[in-house]
Symmetry: C2
Subunit: 346 residues, 2 copies
Amino acid sequence: MRDTAKLNIKELARNLDLSVSTVSRVLNGKARAYRISEETQQRVKKAADELNYVPNRLARSLKLDKSDTIGLIIPDIGNPYFAEIAKSIESQARQKGYSIILCDSGDDISAEEELLMLLMSHKVDGIIIAPVGTEQKHIVNTFHSALPIVIIDRIFPGSNLPFITSDNYQGAFDAVNHLILNGHKRIACIQGIGNSQPNIDRVKGYKDALKASNIKIDKKLLAGDSFTKDNGYKQAIRLFAMTPPPTAIFALSNLIALGILGAANDCNLNIPEDFSLIAFDEQPYSEYLSTPMTTINQQKDEMGRQAVDYIMACIGNKGKIATVSVKLKTNLIPRRSVKNIGLNAL
Amino acid sequence: MRDTAKLNIKELARNLDLSVSTVSRVLNGKARAYRISEETQQRVKKAADELNYVPNRLARSLKLDKSDTIGLIIPDIGNPYFAEIAKSIESQARQKGYSIILCDSGDDISAEEELLMLLMSHKVDGIIIAPVGTEQKHIVNTFHSALPIVIIDRIFPGSNLPFITSDNYQGAFDAVNHLILNGHKRIACIQGIGNSQPNIDRVKGYKDALKASNIKIDKKLLAGDSFTKDNGYKQAIRLFAMTPPPTAIFALSNLIALGILGAANDCNLNIPEDFSLIAFDEQPYSEYLSTPMTTINQQKDEMGRQAVDYIMACIGNKGKIATVSVKLKTNLIPRRSVKNIGLNAL
DNA sequence: TTGTAAGCGTTATCAC
DNA sequence: GTGATAACGCTTACAA
């Protein structure tokens, strides 16, 4: 195979004994507009194909001031929740001719700030970010710099940054209400990072559902400080030791739920015989756990789709950037991890 | 905040009343080499910071003929196996100053070919690819085009393409031998895509382990045609219906294992009481399944690390590209899904 | 110690 | 219908 490393449009034009302009026009589908002869078109296309010409997007982007590239910053691509969102985003973006520069902030706020700069230096046409914490200054700055940006998953209350997230409040309310309808009254909640907005909304949903059914809130039943399985494990062990223990646990993330499963195993407790469990985040394995888990499903696919759509819209009306505030509906997937212990139980 | 969209090095230099070369030198850490005065350095750095100057990597890359960018093509970023590998690659690459352009081939060979071209047009400095199928022409072509490329996960037998993968043969041998040591003789194997090299190697390991213990191979116990959970479910149902059924199943992927769990639930079979299970691929949830699953762990992190290291080495010695052939050791993680049914059982 | 200018590969403007 | 050429923002010889 020929070494095509140095074949640029100039070389290609020389080979064809044509000017670069003509070649460029044919290759960019502007042959008609410039009334380039059919014969020339064929010659150009044939040569480009045979010589394996690959256009240099760097040069193209530099000239056109658009890179056909979108930056994606997420806290942990290894987490299947974010991996699925990323898949959706990549798929949607590429369908529209954009490539994704993937950045993993590793839950580190200063890394996140640097990544924002990095993506700007890469001249991405837009940024989709699932922010790490509650600090939003760097993101607001980017927002004001006329570079399209949209936040997913996490939101910043009180700012007008565009976001696409789940309706965490309603999802949590539904989850707890589902437990109540199944006769549960002592319902524990293991939460994640306390000051993150999804957590705040989910806890509010938990409390409001209890209130709505006139169940008194027991502060000892609400605990935890991280979305990790470690936290789930520790808090579950603590809850199991209470007298009486809760009859149901609401896990605010699927990793927390995994930790609870581990704790149950270690304590020889069965689900749903010994306690019921419902978790935020549906995962591919949720239904394959030996006790299939009742979960609150989030529209990860749709989240990715709408995020890309918004960025595309921004790129469309250059300059005036509209904002967007979407809370996607969640849905409860009932499975065997919740047991009816009420009077009406079968 | 000031609109910094148009601030380039020229503007910055004008602001400072300096030439672009001086500014460029300071910003690229070449101040010492050019004996630029301490005062000028400080002025430049301060101004760049205050005016929020972000260098344009497109221009830089075009000039330097290197983009500090690596292309990553994987069949499915939503699959946690690949998501974890991607995390490792992103982390290693960025640590070395490279960004990742992420492409999901969606298990589509023609998409894969296009993505290879796309990445070349993006002028990536190297490509890491987990190929979809057994067709390798487009990859060989890329290999010969002097653009560093390395294959992960899948390999092409008989070619000299550089690869980093798991020792699938040994992993499968260990898995089956573990079952044999636990007294199992009727051991089924649910496989994935028949003509993919990992599958071929794993099946060979399965057969050789049986042979080594003088257990006759029953062809009816080896079935399946895809790495999906659907396949795992269907094949498991079929195996459960045999008389006698196998006492153990070896699943060649974790998704297959999930399908088996679903089938077991539906048939009211318990693990490991009714049958033992061992699966290729350790996943974060493996130990949290209500019957913790015995798995063959793969070094995903190391796979990513070595892939990046190889690409870096190639970029280092420009021109002469060495090759690499690595089969990473796997390790068996014993858990409760395998029961000792032999004479020596406790 | 700093400045000038060519050139990286494109596309677009103008000319013929 | 086609061709020359400037310009995108940067780095780096070569000058001074």
